[in-house]
Symmetry: C2
Subunit: 448 residues, 2 copies
């Protein structure tokens, strides 16, 4: 019954059901997504290869915006399928997006990328309908993620995209007002496209997962709308999603909490554009960097940097010798070194040049990592050892961006501004942030 | 090393390496694929929904043929991505395609659908280059399938499409002359899109798997061509394809046999448009149907039909009360009943109407299935019990279409003619079959 339960919940969801805190969380998530997509397109090759070199020539009628891509060969627009793909890639390519911490899902990417593209192609759509569909999609992803966590992640699936295709399908189905049965068929068609494995972390293919999930979910909803059949027990069937991609037994219990426990309220925003498990160590390194300036010892005199962190850090971000900016986003060694050296961790510290910089390479070789089950994933102990035997230590209890230490509205705006400035300059970026960001209208205004 | 081993083998494969029996097997496979795609588009709603109602409006420049679709809204052409999707769906929708029996992979669908579409978009391409790429793709699929068989299938994956995306990527990479490294990246991008679960057997989504695999593999090759990065250890990495979708240990051993043991030579062709495990029972039913006519007892006097078959028959085709033609393709009860009643099992016996026909429904209720590990998958014991106590028994040792009892060239031609006639009439179908079918040119001629 999980499939029909989910489809029925989404079909019946009304904007009037949504409380202010749910809507505020959704608006922040969408705002953060838009900034990431715009900045990601401007700063990384992956979305540009996908659009300009590869798929632009295949585009159909250009109904939908590619965020931040005014200068591209398609002048910032493409067909809805291609726009979903490219916006999805761009929104994730900097590893700067939102995070549902319990599942490490980055929920906005697949859902918003599909939804904006289809809203433009099939619109006009009200902001209320858009946000209701967005929330339906995000709740879908996170409940699915909880249902298969952690076994699904532990075997190597990239959970953002494996759940994201289904979330996108539900969101687009909702926007297109499909009934429960058609929404269930869309869930089925989406669920049979399982996108994303962790082998590709640190390459262009990681962000492809998010774009392809957005596109696959949209395609599923469009096919279902037109009567394409799948299975109304797609999720719970013996050879369906929940069993094929997971071995969890009590998988469907979380579906009972749809509309009662809102996952979007737990969505968080990254302060650093890289694997989230490294964030507490980066916090510690940045804090120590500031102290180092007040200290007799300089960075040149650092003998070693000792980290004590949760074991997941090495599982996910254990690259000792990254060769590219993208690989640097999954190297705890690189992340700690740049935090200490630059006193910040922005997209500028995760470029190919910085990853190959001799001083950075030298410093990251001095990073030693000890793992400790007793250290939570949002905590870290960072110790600087100087040549003269002195030490500086930092205990980060809750990383910046965690539930206990979230980004403030001002910080979220600063992050958005930095990213959008890359694409359209600071003046227009300022105009974009001055509009009411409680509506997806913002994106259209940015694109103008 | 599996990924680079596969990429290197494919890159180095030459038409001159291919023996006559390999080429003949490839030509038959392509010929059978073309007939299935043409007939499938003409006879089933799935490819028509995908093209006409859903994705036609998204098509880019229409460079590539949709087989059998001259009358469609796109006049038989679409962009290469869409053509691959629709031809893939059409080629599998009748469950009439080719089968590599050791893995139950239907190899031509994903590979040929991607390859024809890209050849038309990027051509001209010689028949030799086309067939070399086709063979590279088929060998890829089958070696991958062997590497994960049977565990991968047993948990519920649809192995034709899960391996098919990678086969299509290798084939398109070969046709576009990518080097080993770029081909490896293409394998990576394809492998992270795992399409197809068995929950959808009996619905439109089953054939979607094949089309989406074709499209995903093509997309992977195009992205890789343009420098999109993935991982050169995509298959064997701890969180890569072989481990995430399978628990087999000795997975890569089959790669050593690339170019030594040719899988395409083991490709077989279905005489009946339905799940292949039912074929021996259908053979028996058809033979008994012929005998019944010579018998004092008529079909009305049949009390029961007793089947003794391999256990896989009930696992894959155990639908007791199919409601649609597509479901009938996965019902051993329906298949046995129509074999007995009509003396044949063609697309005409797997329509919604026949599945709901009262006489058929009545007869299929009389079918009893006993499973027996000792009965091979290509064998069956079929016994008719009449009201008067008499019995007729058939032991089918090797089903029609098996390695030991293959379709003759004449039978393959008859099958092709039947399917193509559906789309373009018997006169043009006859012209199509009169051309040399040792070249993909045939498809262009059919489409004219």
């Amino acid at each position: 019954m999980a499939t029909l339960q989910l489809a029925s919940w989404a079909t019946n969801l009304q904007y009037a059901n949504l409380t202010t805190d749910v809507l505020l969380a959704a608006n922040k998530s969408f705002y953060n997504w838009a900034g990431c997509a715009i900045g990601g397109f401007a700063s990384q090759p992956a979305p540009q290869i996908a659009l300009n070199t590869t798929l632009g020539p295949f585009s159909g009628p250009a109904t939908s915006s590619i965020l931040g891509a005014n200068g591209s060969i398609t002048h910032g627009f493409a067909d809805a399928q291609l726009a979903a793909l490219v916006n999805g890639i761009a929104s994730h390519v900097d590893d700067y997006d939102d995070t549902h911490l319990e599942t490490i899902i980055h929920p906005a990417g697949p859902v918003a990328s599909a939804l904006l593209a289809i809203a433009e192609a099939y619109g006009p759509v009200t902001g209320q309908d858009f946000m209701t569909a967005f929330i339906a999609g995000v709740e879908t992803e996170c409940k699915l993620g909880l249902s298969v966590w952690p076994q699904h992640y532990d075997v190597g699936w990239h959970i953002t995209s494996t759940t994201g295709a289904i979330g996108a399908a539900v969101a687009v189905s909702k926007l297109l007002s499909l009934d429960t049965n058609h929404t269930a068929q869309a869930i089925g068609i989406a669920s049979t496209q399982v996108i994303g494995m962790q082998a590709f972390f640190g390459s262009d293919t990681k962000s492809f997962h998010i774009g392809r999930a957005a596109q696959s979910g949209m395609l599923a909803a469009l096919l279902a709308k037109n009567g394409y059949t799948s299975a109304s027990d797609a999720l719970e069937a013996k050879y369906g999603w929940l069993h094929v991609v997971s071995t969890r037994d009590n998988a469907t219990a979380y579906f009972d909490q749809l509309g009662k426990e809102w996952e979007i309220k737990k969505n968080t925003f990254k302060p650093y554009p890289c694997g989230i498990v490294m964030h507490p160590a980066i916090d510690g390194a940045i804090q120590l960097s500031n102290q180092t300036h007040d200290n007799n010892n300089s960075i040149e005199n650092v003998k070693s940097i000792e980290l004590r962190v949760n074991p997941e850090v090495l599982v996910l971000t254990g690259k000792t010798s990254p060769q590219t900016g993208l690989e640097g986003k999954f190297s705890i060694y690189h992340a700690t070194a740049i935090g200490l050296l630059y006193g910040e961790a922005t997209p500028s510290q995760f470029t190919d040049d910085v990853v190959k910089n001799a001083t950075v390479v030298d410093l990251r070789k001095k990073v030693n990592v000890t793992t400790d089950e007793g250290v939570p994933t949002d905590a870290a102990y960072v110790t600087l050892r100087y040549e003269d035997g002195t030490e500086l230590e930092k205990h980060v209890e809750h990383a910046k961006g965690s539930m206990e230490n979230p980004l403030t509205d001002a910080e979220l705006k600063k992050k958005f501004m930095e990213q959008v400035t890359l694409a359209i300059g600071s003046e227009r970026a300022a105009r974009a942030t001055s509009v009411d960001h409680h509506s997806p209208q913002i994106v259209k205004k940015i694109c103008l």
